[in-house]
Amino acid sequence: MLDVKVHSELRVPRHRRCHRHLPAKMATSIREKQTAALRRMLNFNVPPLKNTVTEPVWKVLIYDRFGQDIISPLLAVKELRDMGITLHLLLHSDRDSIPDVPAIYFVMPTEENIDRICQDLRNQLYESYYLNFISAISRSKLEDIASAALGANAVTQVTKVFDQYLNFITLEDDMFVLCNQNKELISYHAINKPDIMDTDMEAIMDTIVDSLFCFFVTLGAVPIIRCPRGNAAEMVAVKLDKKLRENLRDARNSLFTGDTMGAGQFSFQRPLIVLADRNLDLATPLHHSWTYQALIHDVLDFHLNRVTLEEGAGSEALPAGARPKKKNKRIYDLTAADKFWQKHKGSPFPEVAESVQQELDTYRAQEDEVKRLKSIMGLEGEDEGAISMLSDNTAKLTSAVSSLPELLEKKRLIDLHTNVATAVLDHIKTRKLDLYFEYEEKLMSKSTLDKSLLDIISDPDAGTPEDKIRLFLIFYITSQQPPSEADLDQYKKALMDAGCDLSPLSYIKQWKAFTKMAATPANYGNSGVKPMGLFSMVMNTGSQFVMEGVKNLVLKQHNLPVTRILDNLMDMKSNPETDDYRYFDPKMLRGSESSIPRNKNPFQEAIVFVVGGGNYIEYQNLVDYAKAKQGKRVLYGCSELFNAAQFVKQLSQLGQK
């Protein structure tokens, strides 16, 4: 199914230019590809040989905040150490001179970074310099560095200058975000500001397109672009098409030459990128989720695959006279190596809680096994007759000892998930998130409601003001007819009483009016769209993991709007929702304005990119979709990753204007 390219792996003479080696398999994930690129960079841009015999070379890694965000979810400090990185420092920190060490720089080509590099060159900080830029450096900036190097007589010390094209952050095997620093520059708020200037918009689009371009260079494939008409996504699509086209035309410098040769004959193997706009679906980011990863992102501080838990000081009573203890922060990394996380990040929460319990039980059993062995050994010291069994037991003991580190690691992971799950559960209980989730699902699927919205809003026990405004916004977005003025006033009053900030509502009102006028097909109100799917609920009171009082809700698979669009486009289904989507093929000689796709084959690989911010709910939905369809791979990307709280904040900023 995936094309495995046959190519000779004979050692080619090393040319001055980069050699593009064809990937052995297309199936490698974007995370692996980016990690491989980073490893190559850290190995002085020579592909690392996979054996231990190579002599270690010690070097220093210098990065800026952007580089830090890119590296940190992919490579831990230990892996850096294994590659010979003895020190890793921020570019703009105070760095002492280390005269006999090569330094690898991994920075954005910004003005201040360039200045700092020039300063380093002048100060003769390191033995040699390997400059790697996250995205392409302009000629003038390169000349700035050149003149600084000349001034410092350090031209020969600047050993290599590379454009890495790695300007995106990979969080999962199939998920990436564009940036983390300065993300407010390309946020939903920035794109949808009413008073935005054309130049600002251009800058935003350029940033997004630059990162997307980097993504495709790393992926090593030229995509076919589809996008809806008349919004920010279309602008991104046009610019991306242009950029890819320019790069392909310049055959000598093209970053795609290597594998387009192979892929050209199988054009149906090219990935499809669907550029979606956040405005297509505003309800999903506000939705209360029920899957593990999305819940963590929603209620805890989950940032670049790292959870930060505030140790509640209230859990244990403090002695009266003592000074308030400094808040203890606990940081957990949720990595790809964590099997439990990989398995359960998309499961509904009650299931996760149960699995944590199970894991804990199996761990205890293993621990008991070790303990039992110990006691047997203790007994046998006295028992003369059992000496013949000793050798057998020694072997057992050896295996037990060698399995100890594994067991410890397991214990660490179980602890981690127990703590995280407990923290999530606390939030669910105090805010009655199960209630919200259930109610919102019903709103979105337009099934009958058993409780009036006003009751929930005015219930002081249920949830924070933010939860209430989220619920109401979803209600407002999904309702076919906007509620009458009198009803609206009533709701508003109830919301005000609950302490909500109503400015997001005013923006949503505008948005709704606008989408109505434009009659966006993906609107929830459109009766042609099927209801969001059924939703079944199982009451399970006797769960083991202190779940009492929380409903054991089970999700039923349904597709979110983004997934539905992808499904239509991937399988070339005809649907009024997606029929007028624009079609770009950067490999075609002349750009066509038509929306008629050239080839009618269904796509095997697709990338969904949401301009204006995405969330884990959509990601999870897409992962489930790809799992259901054999042989399809779907990647999810977004310009920024926000949870509902951040999104509501942006909406309220927009509403205040």
């Binding site: 001055r16 491989a36 010690w58 006999d100 094209y165």
Partner: protein
């Protein structure tokens, strides 16, 4: 370099241990297995980057050309600076380490062989000894390196210190992993020897022991016959066979003896390695703590900076309140002084 005498059976002039870096060449003759060390592995990663070094250099050249008219070219800086002893030593140890790794790989190949007849016991023993010496000397050298690093603590900056420290730690962890590998190879070897012995017992020893018993019974019968002094013919007839069997037993015994020696050797090596392990254990522990990510320290330092800021503010407040107190006291004193001067003087 430390010189050791080689423990092997052939004590020629070759049998002088010259240190890790010198033994490599000589080892190549030992075994003509394909060297894995230099075989390039297929590169599966795409090159998603662009080399702009040439562009940079040409930019430098053109800039230099432009500047040449204005100012005279400065004398080129001596690029290859004198490297510090520390770096040189670390480099040398790194090289030795990788050499030893190559040897270990060879030993692994040899040890994993299960053939009953093509058993290169001598070579394995030799290699084992050499690697053991290597590990020992590397351990010593790393300790020296650490000393060197510590001795220059005062005069260097903090970063240099961390740098050299992590070099030492990484070398140590590499050595630790290598001795671990070594240990497991030895264990494999022991296991193999055991298996070989059991196989030998199965195919040769078992009938032999039976015949030994047979012979013994004959012997006893011979003795009995001697005792009874009846027929000498039988005993004469039996004697060569019995002596043949005895000879066989002798041979077997010497073979088993040599095997036992080898086993003891290996076991003692394992014990020695154990001591090295202990030395390394605490160092490796440091390494364990490095599962963290690179952005971990940043947040910590931010917190620290905030805390420091708060403390400084507190101090500033206390200082300023003190200042007020001083000013007040001074003011009161002045008032008294003036009152004194005006009214009493």
């Amino acid at each position: 370099m430390i010189t050791h005498r080689r423990h092997g059976p052939n004590t020629s002039e070759q049998g002088v241990y010259l240190g890790a870096s010198h033994t490599k060449l000589q080892l190549i003759h030992l075994q003509d297995t394909p060297t894995l060390a230099t075989a390039p592995l297929p590169n599966t990663s795409t090159m998603s980057c662009r080399d702009r070094t040439q562009e940079f250099l040409s930019a430098c050249k053109s800039l230099q050309g432009r500047q040449n008219g204005i100012q005279t070219n400065k004398p080129a800086l001596n690029v290859i600076k004198q490297r510090s002893d520390f770096t040189l030593m670390a480099k040398r140890i790194g090289k030795d380490l990788s050499n030893t790794f190559a040897k270990l790989e060879k030993l692994t190949i040899l040890a994993k062989r299960k053939s009953l007849f093509d058993d290169k016991a001598v070579e394995i023993e030799e290699l084992t000894y050499i690697i053991k010496q290597d590990i020992n000397s590397l351990n010593k050298q790393i300790a020296q390196l650490q000393q060197l690093g510590l001795s220059r603590t005062g005069q260097e900056g903090k970063h240099v210190q961390t740098h050299s420290n992590s070099i030492v730690v990484s070398l140590q962890s590499k050595l630790a992993s290598m001795s671990n590998d070594f240990k497991s190879v030895l264990e494999v070897r022991t296991e193999n020897l055991k298996q070989q012995r059991s196989r030998r017992e199965q195919f040769s020893q078992a009938p032999l022991s039976a015949s030994a018993v047979h012979a013994a019974s004959f012997k006893s019968s011979v003795l009995m016959q001697d005792e009874s002094r009846r027929s000498n013919e039988v005993s004469i007839d039996m004697d060569p066979r019995a002596s043949q069997q005895l000879q066989l037993i002798d041979e077997q015994e010497s073979y088993i003896q040599s095997r036992a020696d080898t086993m003891q050797n290996i076991e003692s090596t394992i014990v020695e390695l154990g001591s090295i392990f202990q030395q390394l254990a605490h160092m490796v522990k440091e390494q364990e703590e490095m599962v963290q990510r690179i952005d971990a320290n940043v947040e910590d330092s931010q917190l620290n900076v905030e805390a420091a800021h708060a403390e400084i503010l507190k101090y500033f407040q206390s200082v300023s309140s003190n200042r007020w107190l001083l000013i007040k006291i001074f003011f009161i004193l002045m008032v008294f002084f003036i009152v004194f001067v005006v009214f009493f003087a």
